[in-house]
C-alpha cells in the first residue's frame, strides 16, 4: 500500500514530464529542480510570511507558472528548431544551475514542512492510509483525467499534439507554436509545484528533493513518454516494485537496493521495450 502511495507521487511527477514531452518532444531534466524550488517557495510563504496553507498553494502554483513562462522565453525559445541533443543538454544545464543556486539561497538543511492534513491515518475498511497519501492519489488521478480529456478534445490540446508531431508543419498550419510552448511549460511547472508541495509533506524538505524526479524517470519510461495514463500506471508500478524490492531483496543483497531497483528496471525497459507500455513505436524515415 505504501508502494502505491509512493507510486502516486511518482505518477504526479511523471505527468509533468509527459506533458512537456507530449507537446514539445523535450525531456525536461530540470523538472526535479522546479519541484524542489516550488516546495521551498511554499514553505517560506507558510512559515516566514504566515500565509495560510490553502492560500499559499495557489500562490506557489502561480509563481511556478510564471517561472515556466520565463524559462521557456529565455532558455528554450532560442533553442526552437535545434537538434534534440542540444535542447536536452540545455535542460540539464538549467537543472544543475537551479540546483546550485537553490543550494546557495536555501542552504542544505532539512526542514519539516507544516502538515496541513490531519495526522492520524485514515482507516478505509482495513486499509490504513495517511491523509497526505490519499490526497496525492486523488490529485494524481484527477489531473490525469483532466489532461487526458484536454489532449483528446480541446483545440489547444490538438495544437500541442500537432506541435509535438512536427513543429514546422504545425507552424504552417497556423498553430501558434510559441504560445503552445509557453503554455506547456507553464502547465508543467504548475504540476511540478503541486508535486513538490505533496512531496515536501511526505518527506523532509531539502535540496535532495530533486533526486526524486530522477527516480521518476523509470516511471515515465515504463509508461511510455507520450502517454498520460501510462505516466500514472508507470508511476504506480515503479512505486510498488521499489517497495517490494526494499522488502524482499534488501535482506539478500543488502541496504540501498530499493533506490537502485528502479534504475535496473529502467535499463531493462529500455532494452526490451524502449517506447514503454503505452507509448507509440516510432518509425523513422530518412
Amino acid at each position: 500500500m505504501s508502494g502505491l502511495a509512493v507510486g502516486s507521487m511518482y505518477a504526479l511527477i511523471a505527468l509533468g514530464f509527459v506533458l512537456i514531452y507530449k507537446s514539445t518532444k523535450i525531456l525536461n531534466f530540470a523538472h526535479g529542480e522546479i519541484i524542489m524550488v516550488s516546495a521551498f517557495i511554499c514553505f517560506y510563504l507558510v512559515s516566514s510570511y504566515k500565509v495560510s496553507f490553502w492560500l499559499a498553494v495557489p500562490i506557489t502554483m502561480a509563481l511556478a507558472g510564471l517561472l515556466g513562462v520565463v524559462t521557456e522565453r529565455f532558455v528554450l525559445r532560442p533553442m526552437l528548431g535545434e537538434p534534440v541533443f542540444s535542447v536536452v543538454m540545455v535542460t540539464i544545464g538549467l537543472s544543475i544551475f537551479l540546483r546550485s543556486i537553490s543550494g546557495i539561497i536555501f542552504g542544505h538543511d532539512n526542514y519539516i514542512f507544516p502538515n496541513p492534513f490531519p495526522t492520524e491515518p485514515l482507516n478505509l475498511g482495513g486499509i490504513v492510509i495517511s491523509h497526505t497519501h490519499l490526497w496525492t492519489m486523488v490529485v494524481a488521478v484527477v489531473l490525469t483525467v483532466i489532461f487526458f480529456l484536454f489532449f483528446k478534445f480541446t483545440r489547444m490540446g490538438l495544437a500541442m499534439r500537432g506541435t509535438a508531431n512536427d513543429q514546422d508543419t504545425a507552424t504552417l498550419m497556423g498553430v501558434n507554436v510559441r504560445k503552445v510552448f509557453a503554455l506547456t511549460w507553464a502547465l508543467a511547472f504548475i504540476i511540478a509545484a503541486l508535486a513538490g508541495i505533496f512531496l515536501a509533506n511526505v518527506m523532509v524538505l531539502n535540496i535532495g528533493l530533486t533526486f526524486v524526479a530522477i527516480s521518476a524517470f523509470p516511471a515515465v519510461v515504463l509508461g511510455g513518454l507520450e502517454s498520460v495514463p501510462g505516466a500514472i500506471l508507470g508511476g504506480l508500478a515503479i512505486g510498488v516494485i521499489e517497495n517490494l524490492a526494499g522488502g524482499y531483496l534488501e535482506q539478500i543483497i543488502g541496504g540501498g537496493v530499493k533506490d537502485v531497483t528502479a534504475f535496473v528496471v529502467l535499463f531493462l525497459i529500455l532494452m526490451f521495450r524502449p517506447y514503454g507500455l503505452f507509448g507509440k513505436k516510432e518509425i523513422e524515415r530518412v
Partner: protein, 350 residues
C-alpha cells in the same frame, strides 16, 4: 599563373594531414616547450592545474569521441571513470603491478564495460540513450558503494604513489611529466582515430545513421567500437586520477561529474579534438577565476565574505552549458577559428 590560396589542397591526403602547415608544427613545438619549462619557472599551483587539466582532457576526449563524433549521448561517463579508477587501484594494491599495467587494465576494464553497455544501447537514440546511460551510471555508483570488500565502499581507497623505474613520483612536478606524456599519447591517438576510416564512419553515423548504413557502414560494429574507445579513454583518465589525487571515493564519480564532462565538450566544441582541450582546460581553470572574483567582491561588499563554495562553480557550469548552447553551439573552437580567419584575412572580412 593562378593565385594559390593559403589553404590550397591537391590531394585528399593533404587535407587530412596531421599538421596542416609548418606554422602549426611550430606552435605545437612552442606549446610543448612552454609546458616543459612550466615546472621550472612557474608556480607549483599552475603545475597542479595542468595536472588536473590533463586528466580532464583525456576523459573529455573519450566523451567527445562518443558524443561529438559518433553522436551517442552519454550521461554515464563518470561510471567508466570510476571503473578505470577502481580497476587500476585494485590492481596496484592487490597485485603490485607496474603502473602501465594498471592504467591499461583500468582502461581495458572500462572498455569492456563500455562495449557491454553499448550493445543493448544499439537500439536507443537521443533521449532514451541519455536515460539508459544515466541509469548505468547510477547502478555503477551503487555497486561501488555496496561491494565494499573490493572497493572499500564509502571509506574510499588510498592509492600508493606511482613508481617509475625505481623513482617514486611523489610530487606534483614529477606527476606532471608523466601525465603530460600520457595525455600527449592519447591526444595523438584520438586525432589519428578521427582522420582514419573509423573516425569517418563515426561521423557518418552521427550525421545520419540510416544513410550511413545504406552506404555500407557497419553500424553495430562502429557504435560498439565507439563506446569501447570512449570508455577506454575514461578508464585511463580514471587511473590517472587515482594516481594523481591518491585517494578515491564513490562520491567522486557521480552524475555531476558526467555533466561536467558534457560541459567541457559543449564549451570546447563538439566533434573537435583541439576544442576538447580548450574545454577541459577552461572548465578546470574557471573555478579559480570564480574564487578570485568572490574574494575580490568580498572586499567591496562585506556580505559576500566567505560566501564562496563549490556550489558557485556548479551553478556557473550550468550557466555555461546554457549560454554556449544558445549563443555559440560550436563552442570555443568555433570562436577560435573565427578569430583566426579574421586575422588571416585582415583587412578584408572574408
Amino acid at each position: 599563373m593562378a593565385i594559390r590560396s593559403p589553404t590550397f589542397k591537391e590531394s585528399y591526403y593533404e587535407d587530412i594531414k596531421l599538421f596542416q602547415t609548418i606554422w602549426i608544427k611550430f606552435w605545437v613545438a612552442v606549446l610543448v616547450l612552454g609546458l616543459v619549462l612550466l615546472p621550472i619557472i612557474g608556480d607549483p599551483y599552475f603545475v597542479y592545474l595542468v595536472n588536473l587539466s590533463c586528466i580532464a582532457t583525456v576523459a573529455a576526449l573519450g566523451l567527445n569521441i562518443l558524443t561529438g563524433f559518433t553522436g551517442q549521448v552519454s550521461l554515464g561517463h563518470a561510471a567508466f571513470l570510476a571503473i578505470g579508477a577502481y580497476g587500476s587501484s585494485i590492481m596496484a594494491l592487490r597485485f603490485n603491478t607496474p603502473f602501465w599495467v594498471n592504467l591499461l587494465f583500468g582502461g581495458g576494464a572500462a572498455a569492456v564495460a563500455g562495449a557491454i553497455v553499448g550493445i543493448p544501447c544499439l537500439r536507443l537514440k537521443g533521449l532514451y540513450l541519455a536515460m539508459a546511460t544515466m541509469a548505468f551510471g547510477v547502478v555503477v555508483e551503487y555497486l561501488v558503494i555496496t561491494w565494499d570488500g573490493l572497493t572499500g565502499g564509502v571509506r574510499g581507497m588510498n592509492m600508493p604513489k606511482l613508481a617509475f623505474a625505481g623513482y617514486s613520483l611523489d610530487t606534483d612536478e614529477k606527476m606532471y611529466v608523466f601525465l603530460l606524456v600520457i595525455t600527449g599519447l592519447m591526444l595523438a591517438a584520438a586525432k589519428n582515430i578521427t582522420r582514419t576510416r573509423v573516425g569517418r564512419a563515426f561521423v557518418a553515423i552521427r550525421d545520419r545513421d540510416i544513410a550511413a548504413e545504406t552506404i555500407g557502414v557497419n553500424i553495430t560494429y562502429y557504435k560498439v567500437l565507439s563506446f569501447a574507445i570512449s570508455s577506454f579513454y575514461a578508464g585511463v583518465a580514471g587511473g590517472m586520477y587515482s594516481y594523481t589525487i591518491g585517494y578515491i571515493h564513490p562520491e567522486h564519480f557521480t552524475l555531476l561529474l558526467s555533466i561536467q564532462y558534457i560541459a567541457m565538450i559543449i564549451v570546447g566544441g563538439m566533434g573537435s579534438i583541439v576544442g576538447t582541450v580548450f574545454g577541459a582546460v577552461f572548465i578546470v581553470v574557471i573555478p579559480e577565476f570564480i574564487k578570485l572574483f568572490a574574494q575580490g567582491s568580498a572586499k567591496l561588499f562585506p556580505f559576500m565574505k566567505d560566501r564562496y563554495d563549490e556550489e558557485w562553480n556548479i551553478a556557473f557550469f550550468g550557466l555555461l552549458i546554457m549560454i554556449f548552447l544558445i549563443f555559440e553551439p560550436g563552442g570555443l573552437y568555433s570562436i577560435w577559428t573565427r578569430i583566426k580567419v579574421s586575422f588571416k584575412n585582415w583587412p578584408f572580412t572574408y
